[in-house]
């Protein structure tokens, strides 16, 4: 009994394998369809993930951080009237920010301002930063392309975006005038020398931010010790609930604590939509695949009606016939998956440093995307794609397998066609 069943499994597998290659042309077409389907799933997902990751990364680096603390009302009216005390005045917050939960943090003054050169005037956001703290938190230092980064909180020079500099028709080391309002609604203005230029994607960032030393900006605006925002980075941008709770309890009572996703609902929604979208994408590809798969198997079973009747008459159990067809399908799926995975790996490998899409950069810029697309291959997505094809594929092939096993031997043998 034991040997018999072992033997029969072996036989079933061998029969399935040989059946598969009896009409090798049809099987190869089906195999390539599966391979292409899986490739499409993985490749497209990697591109879309890369796109979204980049958008979120850009958004987080563009001064958002993972979590931000503002004074209540600041987000509706980002002016000097809505300030919070600096970190060193609240021990609880200081302790949290220095703990292991937070990888980087910084405090800033951020106010609407006007920048003026001899010929042009533009509205910008003036950001007073603590240069050492911004390292690893925001895009600022890594995008300095000319001149120097802000050297200290007392640095009296400005860091200006290249595009803004061109629009202002001015140059490095020239003077410009910044104008804003102090807390008493008086004009606060001051001349600054341009000490550095930054280049970044998207270009809107270059024209909308001007950076200066925190203390210098504070003096210009006649502020006391207050600051506009605290930005911090946790460990994973997808899991911030806990850190947000901790921040909320450590921050002053009426402070406004928000994660990047709440701060930028467009990006936050994007992330959720993407997860759903990938599943829908998988389902669509699989649906197309499964029609081919079921059709191929039905055809194979139909061709073999007589021999199925014969092996049944010779004593093969109908469950064995069911397994035989199933195994044939599984072998086909496995080979197809292997080829598909290999294909995706081979196609992603050469572009892992990014795909240049600068030709359409202008159109993509509104979405906060860069001109290079970095595909992101997640193990999770690859596993999902494979599992979806394999599991649903087996389910789909249950129909032809069931049909094959339900044939009445005498009818099958005597069946005549053509």
């Amino acid at each position: 009994m034991n040997t018999a069943s072992k033997l029969s499994w072996k036989i079933i597998f061998r029969m399935a394998w040989r059946n598969l290659w009896r009409n090798h042309r049809r099987s190869l077409i089906m195999l390539s369809a599966i391979a292409l389907g899986v490739w499409g799933m993985i490749w497209m997902t990697a591109l879309m993930r890369g796109m979204v990751d980049q958008m979120i990364d850009n958004s987080i680096k563009t001064l958002s951080g993972h979590i931000q603390i503002h004074a209540a009302g600041y987000l509706d009216d980002p002016s000097v009237e809505h300030l919070i005390p600096p970190v060193n005045e609240s021990p609880a917050l200081q302790a949290l920010l220095d703990s292991n939960d937070v990888t980087a943090w910084s405090q800033r003054i951020r106010v609407p301002a006007v920048i003026r050169s001899e010929r042009e005037v533009y509205a910008v956001t003036l950001v007073g930063i603590d240069p050492a703290r911004e390292r690893g938190l925001s895009f600022i230092e890594e995008s300095v392309s000319d001149g120097v980064y802000i050297t200290s909180v007392d640095d009296k020079r400005l860091l200006v975006g290249r595009k803004l500099l061109d629009r202002l028709e001015t140059k490095l080391n020239r003077r410009v005038v910044m104008m804003s309002q102090d807390p008493d609604n008086n004009i606060a203005e001051r001349g600054f020398r341009i000490g550095g230029i930054f280049d970044t994607d998207p270009q809107a960032t270059e024209t909308s931010y001007v950076f200066g030393g925190l203390e210098t900006v504070r003096k210009m605006l006649n502020l006391g010790t207050g600051i506009s925002e605290i930005s911090l980075l946790g460990h994973d941008y997808r899991q911030l609930d806990e850190l947000k709770k901790k921040t909320q309890s450590a921050a002053m009572e009426n402070a406004d604590v928000k994660t990047w996703a709440e701060q930028d609902p467009y990006m936050g929604t994007m992330l959720n939509v993407m997860d759903g979208f990938i599943l829908i994408w998988f389902a669509i590809i699989f649906l197309a695949l499964s029609f081919g798969l079921v059709n191929t198997l039905l055809m194979a079973v139909f061709e073999r009606t007589r021999e199925i009747g014969l092996v049944q008459a010779l004593g093969m159990k109908s469950s064995n016939i069911l397994f035989m067809v199933l195994i044939e399908s599984i072998i086909m799926l496995m080979i197809g998956l292997a080829a598909g995975n290999l294909l995706s790996w081979l196609t992603i490998l050469p572009v892992q440093d990014g795909i240049d899409i600068s030709g359409v950069a202008d159109g993509l810029e509104w979405a906060g995307m860069s001109s290079t697309l970095l595909p992101a291959l997640l193990a999770r997505d690859v596993l999902t794609a494979n599992a979806v094809v394999l599991v649903l594929g087996i389910f789909a092939s249950l129909v032809p397998a069931w049909r094959a096993s339900r044939k009445v031997p005498i009818e099958a043998i005597t069946r005549v066609w053509q």
């Binding site: 006007v114 003026r116 001899e118 009296k156 005038v177 203005e189 001051r190």
Partner: protein, 256 residues
């Protein structure tokens, strides 16, 4: 008595010898000339009737204005013609606050700081030019470049370089000021020391009891066909001007 007068003599000689050097070297002299020119232009208080012509390549228009000012700290300017613009008014108060009234919408608007460097009433003057105050003198380092002779007058040519942190974008400004403190020319240069715009005095006449630049033109150097000319028809210095003129309610409902 003798001692004090002796002491005074000593002090006077030191004062007379030392600062003479210092005056011409460190530019205090130049600063004084600029300050005097501003005071001369403004008087303690003044009432002015003038017209402003804005010229552009494809159009030109002229407005008539009336202006009241006290010591350059408070200024009220009202448009009297043409009918289309009549009633438009600008009020400048002590601390650089500029208000604007437009009768068409019956609204008083405070000009926000972001608009201070924008054009005033569509002219080549900015809101900032209109609201210039005394502190502007201290934002520069003034140097007397040379003196020239013109029409029997001595003309001081003064170079004013903005201080590093002052809120002035120009590379430098060069003023030509006559010995009776009438400004003949004021050049604005960018930081490459290229000329950007020039304020030129076209006509000097005696008015309101002093020599006065009655016709001045602001011209952009790079846009030759764009200029604004201000021509003063009537001028009354040191006239008693009531304080109530410089209020928001008077801006909206003129009593004069």
């Amino acid at each position: 008595m003798r001692l004090t007068s002796f002491a005074r003599f000593i002090i006077l000689s030191i004062v007379a010898l030392l600062p003479a050097q210092a005056y011409s070297e460190d530019g205090t002299d130049a600063r004084n000339i600029i300050q005097n020119a501003i005071d001369h232009y403004r008087g303690l208080s003044s009432y002015t009737e003038m017209s402003m012509t804005i010229h552009r390549p494809d159009w030109e228009r002229t407005m008539s204005l009336r202006g009241w000012s006290i010591g350059g700290k408070k200024t009220l300017i009202r448009v009297t013609a043409p009918a289309r613009d009549k009633g438009n008014a600008t009020l400048v108060l002590d601390d650089n606050k500029v208000w604007s009234f437009t009768p068409k919408i019956n609204r008083v608007i405070r000009i926000p700081s972001s608009m201070m460097s924008q054009s005033w009433m569509g002219s080549d003057f900015s809101n900032k030019d209109v609201s210039r105050t005394d502190e502007i003198v201290d934002s520069y380092t003034h140097t007397l470049l040379r003196t020239e002779m013109a029409d029997g007058h001595k003309v001081y040519v003064i170079e004013s370089i903005p201080k590093e942190e002052s809120a002035i974008v120009w590379g430098k400004e060069i003023s030509h000021i006559r010995d009776d403190y009438v400004e003949l020319e004021h050049q604005f240069l960018d930081q490459e020391m290229k000329l950007v715009k020039v304020l030129k005095t076209l006509d000097i006449r005696e008015m309101g009891g002093r020599m006065f630049a009655v016709r001045q033109q602001m011209r952009h150097h790079e846009k030759k066909d764009e200029w604004t000319e201000i021509s003063v028809q009537m001028l009354d210095f040191d006239k008693k001007i009531p304080d109530y003129l410089f209020t928001l309610s008077n801006l909206r409902n003129p009593r004069e």
